[in-house]
Symmetry: C2
Subunit: 366 residues, 2 copies
């Protein structure tokens, strides 16, 4: 039975790729609502090169402009030792944890300066900062910047018959990478400054990404006394194999240079992708070899349609000012029709075939 | 493992129905191409009541008009003892066969008269005739009638960016039923005279329909000598339990009243649905109880969008003239994107869970 299922899953992935070959479609201009809906119907991504080049944000934003508008206002910032917000970390005993960033508030002017300084290697001992709250922050803490952006993306609004559920502002540098994950959203992503490098896997590759249920943890500044009983020291980044955190803390910035991993209390296990298409030999499943990641880089003014439930890993390069800045519009996935149900089923069968229990709830949107 | 799969399949069907409740959508007018593409994207049917009431065919066609146009021209006609073209028949030993009609050519005027006479009980001993070739017959043998129809359905052509692969003419009476099956087509179905009664099952219900691989056979007039070695007598219709064919032949019309089932040579097994949502206690799978068939009746001038890969069973009622006449436009399913691949996978997993081999090829479009 399991052997037969294994064959069906590899057939699924391989036949999908036979029917969907080649790179991400590139459009010369924004699609019409109908053209967009054809992509939604097929759940296929596209890029519109320079599709947002007329947006005020793309024309105007730079470090000085952003500081002029946002000034000393407190903003949420994710702080991590290796730029690994919401990622899988392998501990010294080879066990895996899902580690969330230390979330705090700092004045915007400080956040952007720290991001720039780190990019220019002026503060290599500092942790990595990433403004990436994904909680509709452009209509909340960054509302002053929102006037430089369209209130929604007309072709998406007309096509999907809904307004965006969240509009997000992202500011970071090349030290941050967003680990492979998926969202229940149709995503219109616009690069403003710097470049973003996407690695994209279609939903049919759910059995490739080695989803596992792993303990959730959070980076926290080391308590001034001894480590708490629930913290584990010396995690090694699954990507960079940097020195363990316990070794890095010398020049403290409010203790943030000495972040340690603390298991969440109460204990919680979260399902998360543990395979990285950029490190294909680490933690593969028997199906990972069938994955054919699509890669696309967004330049300033480019617009990406990232379809719902596609796995994506995102890294970034900075503008000459040492920042990488983007915005995105999230439209709720339509759960009616066949697509959501079929994808959930396929994910569950993949987990069963890998000997895992699919009844642990849906993957977090983190 | 099989128990877990069983749970996943019942979860798939039940969660689909939680997300897609209620009857078939009814639109007040033809959708725009964008509105249509939203239905295609969700793979959900709709009806446009009176959507084709302006078509010349709907306004003009009646028995006399059709005979005036088509006259004595030879047309293909499917002849069966019980109106069961392309259907599952249970033999006396309880084995199943997939039986195709006796296909022959007759003058159109004769075909329509036989259809009317049978409907008016003037020829109850006759076999059932159904003009249903589904081979683009409106652009071939019925080309003289095609001028009464649009060359395609504009909202579908614009939306799907293709012309119809086939445009078909259907003429029969209430004795004919089309057994539950699916097609790889987006289908725009227009009722012209009489009524059609559709029973619709979404693709996620593939494990409900008890697809089995069964021997193919064809109704053939009994040879004037003894039955051939490959024919089996006394099949019983899976629906009507009519007397066995061997008992019916008395007043012969060119031998057509004595149709016997002949196994195809060389032997061929075809995958076909063996569960009938109208006889739910016969040949169910453990999943059939989760099926929630949608039922919709088309009246004259009504238009149905029957999405690709939906299982459908179709019965019919006649106009006062004793005919049921319809046309349909088949647009090729888009095999790219996720939908086709996910449906094929789901069908295969359903078959595996039922202990069957999914590698026997796709179901015939018959």
């Amino acid at each position: 039975m399991r052997l037969s299922l294994t064959n069906e899953i590899s057939d699924l992935i391989n036949s999908y790729h036979e029917l969907n070959s080649g790179p991400v479609d590139e459009l010369e201009e924004e699609p019409s609502p109908l053209e967009f809906m054809r992509y939604v119907a097929r759940n296929l991504p596209f890029v519109v090169r320079k599709g947002a080049s007329d947006w005020a944000a793309v024309k105007e934003w730079n470090a000085k402009y952003l500081v002029d508008v946002m000034g000393e206002q407190l903003v949420n910032v994710a702080i991590t030792p290796h730029g690994n917000a919401d990622s899988v970390v392998e501990l010294e005993d080879n066990s895996l944890i899902f580690v969330k960033p230390y979330d705090t508030e700092e004045p915007f002017s400080k956040v952007i300066k720290k991001i720039q300084d780190q990019e220019r290697s002026l503060s290599s001992q500092e942790p990595t900062r990433y403004a990436q709250t994904q909680n509709d922050n452009l209509r909340n803490e960054y509302i002053q910047l929102f006037s430089d952006l369209p209130k929604d993306v007309p072709f998406a609004r007309i096509s999907l018959q809904k307004s965006p559920d969240a509009i997000n502002f992202w500011l970071g540098n090349s030290h941050s990478t967003t680990a492979l994950h998926k969202d229940n959203y149709e995503n219109i992503y616009v690069q403003v400054r710097g470049r973003k490098h996407f690695v994209l896997l279609p939903p049919v590759e759910g059995a490739c990404i080695n989803e596992q249920l792993i303990p959730a943890a959070t980076y926290t500044p080391r308590p001034t006394s001894t480590s708490s009983s629930t913290s584990r020291s010396s995690p090694t980044s699954s990507r960079s194999h940097s020195p363990s955190l316990a070794d890095t803390g010398t020049a403290l910035d409010e203790g943030l240079n000495d972040l340690v991993v603390s298991l969440d209390e109460p204990e919680e296990n979260v399902p998360f992708a543990t395979w990285d298409p950029d490190l294909p030999d680490q933690r593969p499943t028997p199906f990972s070899k069938y994955s054919r990641p699509l890669r696309v880089t967004l330049d300033e003014g480019d617009m990406l349609y990232l379809p719902a439930l596609w796995y994506h890993k995102v890294s970034q390069s900075c503008s000459s000012e040492g920042i990488c800045c983007a915005v995105n519009y999230w439209y709720d996935l339509d759960f009616s029709g066949s697509f959501w149900s079929l994808c959930s089923f396929t994910r569950a069968v993949g987990l069963l075939t890998l000997g895992r229990n699919p009844q642990h709830g849906e993957e977090d949107d983190a």
